[in-house]
Amino acid sequence: MNVFRHDIVIVGGGGAGLRAAIEAAENHPNASIALVSKVYPMRSHTVSAEGGAAAVAREDDNLELHGFDTVKGSDFLGDQDCIVYFVEQAPKELALLENWGCPFSRNEDGSVATRAFGGMTTKRTWYAADKIGFHMLHALFQHSMRFPNIVRYDEYFVSKLLVDGGRCNGVAALDIRTGEYCTILGRAVILTTGGGGKIFPFTTNGTIKTADGMALAYRAGVPLKDMEFVQYHPTGLPGTGILITEATRGEGGYLKNNKGERFLVDYDYGVGKKAELGPRDMISRAIVQEIEAGRGFEGAYGAYVHLDLTHLGAEVINTKLPFVRELAKTYVGVDPITTPIPIRPVVHYMMGGVDTNIHGATTLPGLYAAGETACVSINGANRLGSNSLTECLVFGAAAARHAMSFSKDSAAPNEKALVAQCEEEAGRVANLRGRKKGGEKISAIRRELNNVMEACCGVYREQTSMQTGVIATAQLRGRVADLRLEDSSKVFNTELITAMELQNMVEVAETIAVSAAHRKESRGAHTCKDYKGRDDSNYLYHTMTHHDPAGPRLGKKDVVLGKWIPEERKY
């Protein structure tokens, strides 16, 4: 078996992973950094972000405001020390990204332009037309290429963290090209694998977003935090779930029902004057209520409402929202210049993830996490649009700094033990490859998982369906061990990867269901029909789920409060 040795190993090549790699490589030219990703880094799902990245930039804005917006957006579940650190670092990180070549849109005077976004008091979302994620990912990836000490492992699938003596010291990775396992050793490991939107049937997420990092950490004994908080983005295309950015509303777009009313203005949904610029959880709930009140449109893929941009004019749409126009024309056959776009709420983001502290460190020494896969938590119960890209940068860099200093101080890993673990993992996966004796079909289990999770953890949740979800996901966890695979070839066996991804998703889905069923209140994205309103006296804490062969074991962690005292969340 091939054994590769590095100072740190980063798993995941998206925004957070690349930022972490650059931070480590730039400040430690003699260190060797492994960047392991199951796809080429430029395919990572950061690429799909559209609207922008938030950081204070204007004269009329300040860190205090950004901090409070984020805390309020999180429904007071965000850790305030982390949020303060986040808003402080945000402008520097975005300025760095600009220095590295990201083609931000500009004001007349040549400075970086900002736009309005949901839940933000003022314009603080830096953007590049409507493709910030794409430009950020490519700018980071291209910048990362200049560092010879970043060693990329493209198309390597990590299926196990190697832990010895209570420290995480590397990963077991399957070289997808050859089908052979290799041991990639480092004195610290950073997980930056993104979320797991593919657990749900209707999602903006790409097919690679299968909660791999969360499952890796969870199995290694690291708790997952706040998993019940799954963000529904208000505006996805029916059928495909393709994201139509919040920037459409930031630029002045309207949401309309089948009577042509701007329902966020005409009815009281708690967003007040913010109307279309309310936070995502509230807007998604409003859309669902409109549809339930019979004021939606009926379509082949369920009911929807309209996102009307026609009043913005061709000029604004073509210069600021060209990708939205391309997507609407290609995937629903609608030109937003003349016709409203059909949209409905769609699973977009997981606020929860691997429990980390402000430095990105998990409870397992040597293991760090950043980006969507981590839960620091700055997002609490609901993330504000355009905070997540900045989060990738801020906490990707922070995790890299602390992982590097950890790696310098720690003793050499016990290579023999780690390689033995990797060999065992290779044996397990060899048995899974082309496992014809199995009884369960991958696509069938995935469909079942999707349906269970949609019923269990929608925009509105009910205690009974959440309980059903807990039981159903536990059953699926048993059944997913008995998959039937047809492809026994070693080279580029994507079926094998899909099977392991499905196992990851089932494992993480169970933590979502269990966490959701236990939280008997309505907070942020977790809206329970049986329990109206937030219950700070009983539920102002982070839900922790620990791995246990019998199923997730629940725990609690205190929310770090600060200068912002929880109050009623009304806009």
């Binding site: 402008p91 520097k92 040549g110 290609t330 492809d487």
Partner: protein
């Protein structure tokens, strides 16, 4: 719903001497893209078909394939634009790894060789962390006018989907050729007002198998799903490389 015969190129180096074709009957929905048909095959008919895909919204660049002989982004191409029989092959001009998966290693190295990052000639922060602490969202960023942005923005839209390489007749015949996307991205940085690395990149562009190998067939721009127009970039880069060479002749070392 219409039944179509989807013909997929199969190649498994463990079993096949050479690529072969396999046919599948697929009930195609009216709004399906080509990718949906391939995913249907993978999910329901034959789990051993290998292909790359992810975002299914035409921005990650994974799913480029030959559809009836034309390079296409399969998530953006309607299956019903084609007849009852659709031929799906791996991207032309690339070594085939497995089924619809091609080897991108050659591209990645060509891409890296054009130095696709901002090069600043003079300022080299001695202490990057101290420099970063001083970064300010306005003072710490470069000023760039809308005009300056427009000179390179188009070329920065490349999603690395490789359709241009599959279409380019020079790529097919000249293994050293850097190819459309790599040159376009190098040129993108040359045109960026924040960059000062034109000298280095133009030297690369004057080398063997680079911009001057392009015969301006314009095929790359015809197939580009993102309107990057790599042919324009490559041919602008020719001018750039020549002007730069002439400048060096008159004023060696950039006049400094």
């Amino acid at each position: 719903m219409a039944d179509k015969t989807i013909v997929i190129t199969r190649f498994d180096p463990d079993k096949d001497q050479a690529p072969r074709k396999q046919e599948y009957k697929v009930p195609c929905e009216p709004d399906w893209k080509v990718l949906d048909a391939i995913n249907f095959i993978k999910d329901e008919l034959d789990g051993s078909v290998a292909h790359r895909w992810s975002c299914r919204m035409a921005v990650c660049g994974s799913c480029g394939m030959m559809v009836n002989g034309e390079p296409k982004l399969t998530c953006k191409t309607s299956i019903n634009d084609y007849g009852d029989r659709v031929d799906i092959e791996p991207l032309a001009n690339f070594p085939i790894v497995r089924d619809l998966v091609v080897d991108l290693d050659g591209f990645m190295h060509k891409f890296q060789s054009v130095k696709p990052w901002i090069i600043r000639a003079k300022e080299k922060a001695a202490d990057p962390i101290a420099a970063r602490a001083a970064l300010h969202p306005v003072k710490g960023t470069y000023s760039q006018s809308a005009d300056q942005l427009a000179t390179f923005k188009q070329f920065s839209m490349c999603i690395n989907c490789m359709l241009c390489y599959a279409a380019c007749p020079v790529v097919a015949n000249e293994p050293e050729f850097l190819g459309p996307a790599a040159i376009a991205l190098g040129h993108r940085y040359n045109m960026d007002s924040r960059d000062e690395g034109q000298g280095e990149r133009n030297e690369i562009f004057r080398g063997e198998g680079t911009v001057f190998s392009c015969s301006y067939a314009n095929e790359c721009s015809e197939v580009c799903p993102k309107n990057v127009d790599p042919a324009a970039a490559v041919n602008q880069a020719k001018f750039g490389a020549v002007i730069d060479w002439a400048k060096n002749l008159v004023l060696p070392r950039g006049g400094a």
